[in-house]
């Protein structure tokens, strides 16, 4: 096709390049469809779980990207006791279980990635991530108590990087804001 005809067609099609208005609940309809899909059984869902990162879904845990920060400690007696008291009703206290959070970081260039946060007393060596696949994906699964946890990734032992997939902590005392996740008690699921 010559350039003249090409230009002509480009002009003719210009109005068709506008985005048509769609139903405002389109996204919710798709999400509801997925919800039905998942509720019908784990078969379809399991495909997602065994995705390109090759990991399993956290168990008994809801990990939530919470924009507000959390500065709590895991392992202190006060924290654990009060968490159990307040996140569970008396009849289901025993059903509280520690959760597993899967931390994922993507960097093709990194040689070593760890995660440091309130759950490991900001120890940069305690929780290394392992390479998953060949896409520069790093991951680690960490058992966490219920509650709020702030963290950052540490790349090559020196560079502190917030989790781009999680919102930020409000504090900036030590540079860029931390990222935050929340783990809720099993009985509230």
């Amino acid at each position: 096709m010559n350039a003249h005809n090409d230009d002509e067609l480009n002009r003719l099609f210009a109005p068709l390049r506008e985005f048509p208005a769609s139903s405002p609940d389109s996204t919710d309809r798709i999400m509801a469809e997925i919800a039905v899909d998942l509720s019908e059984g784990g078969a379809k869902n399991s495909k997602v779980n065994s995705g390109w990162m090759g990991g399993r879904r956290p168990v008994f845990v809801t990990v939530l990207a919470i924009a507000a920060a959390v500065i709590v400690v895991v392992g202190g007696g006060l924290w654990q006791t009060s968490t159990q008291d307040h996140l569970t009703s008396p009849t289901t206290t025993m059903s509280v279980r520690p959760g597993v959070v899967r931390f994922v970081f993507v960097s093709a260039d990194a040689k070593q990635v760890t995660v440091a946060g309130s759950f490991n007393h900001w120890n940069t060596d305690a929780t290394p991530l392992e390479r998953v696949g060949s896409e520069g994906v790093w991951a680690a699964e960490v058992s966490l108590t219920t509650g709020w946890h702030s963290y950052m990734f540490v790349v090559d032992g020196k560079q502190w990087v917030p989790d781009p997939a999680a919102p930020q902590d409000p504090g900036t005392e030590f540079g860029p804001s931390n990222s935050a996740v929340m783990v809720i008690a099993h009985n509230s699921l």
């Binding site: 096709m1 067609l9 506008e18 997925i34 495909k47 997602v48 065994s50 997939a165």
Partner: protein, 186 residues
Amino acid sequence: METDRFIIARILRGETIAYAQLIERHRPRCFRYACRMLGDYDEAEDVAQEAFVRAYRALSQCVNPDRFGEWVFQILVNRCRTAIERRVTQDRWFVRTDTDILDPRSDISQQMPQTDDVEYALAQLAPVYREALILKYVEQLTYDEMAEITGIGISALKMRVNRAGAMLRSRLLNIVKREENYECTQ
């Protein structure tokens, strides 16, 4: 803004709801294509929804998460083809032979066809030609990108676009002429 890769990481980590973010990001383009291809908004909604649900189910097979948009679009193109195949045969009579092709020297755009006319003329083309024109002039893809999505060779695509463009101009000219005649008789 979070990259598609990170959103997919969140979904695979268990945050299913993050998928909504991918939908919001890529749905407008998909819905536009489905509308132009199917000519029916309700059907376009359904097909776009089907494409996103299928993409979710197959998320683990998305080899390059940075290119989720292209991937779901490819799924959509295939779903549109299937939707058209499912239709009753009445659509097929729109298929015309090359005898409709107009003299390429005449410039149809100078005769001011309306957008509706273009859509109407487009709807009259066989789906393979419609698909070629929409990918080329609405989506503004390169032939390489078109080949990747459709699985058709570049030279065949060029030929198809050429032919489809000529057929469209022929249809448009007929429509414009009919409208002129109609106005004269009023």
